[in-house]
């Protein structure tokens, strides 16, 4: 079923990934109003690995660049600098374009909004069969059989293939999106906020389904979410993003029991949780700054209780899973 190449421990390798968006005003405005060009560094030097069969999650607040990373990882967005290697094949290098074509069917994406990611004019069977046709995997009767099989796999009925997306609820639509992602026997699935548009009881169904499928097919997930509790439930390892940079990478549960970066601590403190009834919390000051004009040095320093002069000057490097001067200097336990 799967075209296995060399089985490697590391499946996805992201190295020094950068993405800059040009957010300048139109040329005429710039000339008349004498404004310089403006750039937004959405992702600024990101490196991480994902091992085969694991769930790697990226968390962060809006504007931290999570979705940009997801879209670069699957090749929907060209990178400005850096590289993404999936199973040893570069997603960015032109030389690899032949092998990349082969790789494409092993990578799929599940989007946030199942109302927008399914073509409303297509029947479900056509939606799910699209990757099969695109890669020429099966023909004729086999396609119908495979679609029925996929629908059963995600907890729907094979007859549901005759229906249109509008006949399904949000949770069922997300199941269809998952079936489509599995249609080409993908191994690496990028999930960009797959449950944030769903109600909690439906979210539980989808998260359970994603876990079951992962066990069954040995899938590798890149899981993007802003919901820390969901991430804790799903992820083996977690990367915390702030303004386009990773501030901490940690094994899943350890991030919650022993957060190290001040931003991670702040985030964990801020999350309203079922267990929090009547608990008094540490108040967080400030908001995520404007990414067009980020603070100097460590971008978190204006909100950080531990910031000193060095933090204002020098961006900290990622060392031993955390990018923070205070932690590295031992100023904090």
């Amino acid at each position: 079923m799967m075209a296995q190449t060399k089985p490697s421990e590391t499946f996805v390798e992201v190295r020094d990934l950068k993405r800059v968006f040009d957010v300048s005003r139109p040329w005429l405005n710039r000339v008349i109003e004498r404004q310089p060009k403006a750039f937004l560094k959405a992702v600024d030097g990101l490196s991480f690995d994902i091992r085969r069969g694991e769930t790697f999650a990226l968390v962060g607040e809006s504007g931290s660049g999570k979705s940009t990373v997801a879209r670069m990882a699957v090749g929907l967005l060209p990178v400005t600098a850096g590289s993404v290697l999936i199973d040893g094949v570069s997603m960015t290098d032109v030389k690899d374009s032949q092998t990349r074509q082969q790789l494409r069917k092993r990578i799929q994406m599940i989007f946030q909004d199942p109302y927008a990611s399914l073509n409303p004019r297509w029947r479900v069977e056509r939606i799910i069969a699209e990757p099969i046709h695109a890669f020429g995997l099966l023909k004729g009767e086999q396609v119908t059989a495979r679609v029925g099989e996929l629908l059963t796999l995600v907890g729907l009925h094979p007859d549901d293939g005759r229906k249109y997306p509008h006949e399904f609820s949000g949770g069922q639509r997300q199941r269809i999106a998952i079936a489509r992602a599995l249609a080409s026997s993908a191994e690496f699935i990028v999930c960009d906020e797959p449950t944030s548009a769903l109600d909690v009881s439906v979210q539980a169904q989808i998260l359970n389904l994603m876990r079951d499928l992962q066990k069954e097919f040995g899938l590798t997930y890149l899981f993007i979410s802003h919901n820390l509790a969901v991430v804790r439930h799903m992820a083996d390892r977690i990367g915390v993003m702030y303004l386009g940079r990773l501030v901490e990478i940690s094994e899943g549960k350890r991030l919650f029991s022993a957060p190290r970066h001040p931003y991670t601590r702040m985030l964990l403190d801020a999350v309203p949780d079922l267990g929090m009834t009547g608990r008094q919390r540490q108040m967080v000051a400030g908001e995520i700054p404007n990414p067009i004009n980020p603070p100097s040095g460590c971008t978190f320093h204006p909100r950080c209780p531990l910031a000193n002069e060095r933090c204002k000057r020098e961006p900290p490097a990622m060392l031993d899973g955390v990018a923070c001067h205070a932690v590295q200097e031992g100023r904090v336990s």
């Binding site: 169904q205 309203p272 079922l274």
Partner: protein, 339 residues
Amino acid sequence: MTEPVISVRDLRVEFVTRKGILRAIDGVSFDIMPGEVLGVVGESGAGKSVTGSAIIGLIEPPGRIAGGEIRLHGQRIDNLDPESLRRIRGRKIAMIFQDPLTSLNPLYRVGEQLVETILTHTDLGPAAARARAIELLNEVGIPAPERRIDGYPHEFSGGMRQRVVIALALCAEPDFIVADEPTTALDVSVQAQIIALIRKLCRERGTAVMLVTHDMGVIAETADRVAVMYAGRVAEIGPVRDVVKHPLHPYAKGLMGAIPTLEAEADRLVQIPGSMPRLSNIPQGCAFNPRCDRVFDRCRVERPDPDIPRFGLEGEAPLMPGHRVACHLYTRNPVENAS
């Protein structure tokens, strides 16, 4: 005993459509005391927002209040003419909406919108109104309010905008605020600040708040009491700690177990089979019966009302006063339950 600020009795809201009458709210009752935050939770379509809109008188055709009473300080407000309702709205009752960008007029400065509201609802003059607006912005935690008051909404960030909306709601010192998903559009770190702000205002001013949200975490932290809604009815209502820690209704139990938390060790989340019924197709008897794993004959015929549980289920925590549940399991003989 103090009087409730808002008292809702057997409220029913219907929407007339071509396919027939849809009952979005079917017999909802609750009280909210001064300074109390009542959380209303439920999944989409449970009728949370419609309940809020009904109280503030914002149900528009084809929707209508088909029955029941809404009382503000003991006075009925559900049958008022639009003019008298308009006078209450804003002065006695205020509303905070989900998206702060749409509830502010982008063409007017923040200050103008605040001053206009203050002039409409109070006896203050223009200069005093402006001073009051600055004071309000300061109170909701906007830095340098004397400068920011002349900014346009787009110059504020999401969290700051929501603070402005809260300031706007506070202009006339209302007795009751309906907050419909006030933090859903915000990031977690900002969300925590807004929650703390709402709590503080409640405590200091004795304002009653109805907090509508689908986020149980927000409710657990903000509300004093919580009502769990399902298919237009209250399934369970009680002190927040009891409902969150020891839910009684099978739906509430499922809901709490379905939420991933930062503490619990669970390999799988609790899954409630199926989904919420459509309004056009609400099952007879208890609306939850097709999805319930403890269903028995009576559930399919007779609709349960929120009531004080008469019998506890085996192995459950003792029942707390004020905790009501709409489930036949708790009115049936415990011997039968055990079988």
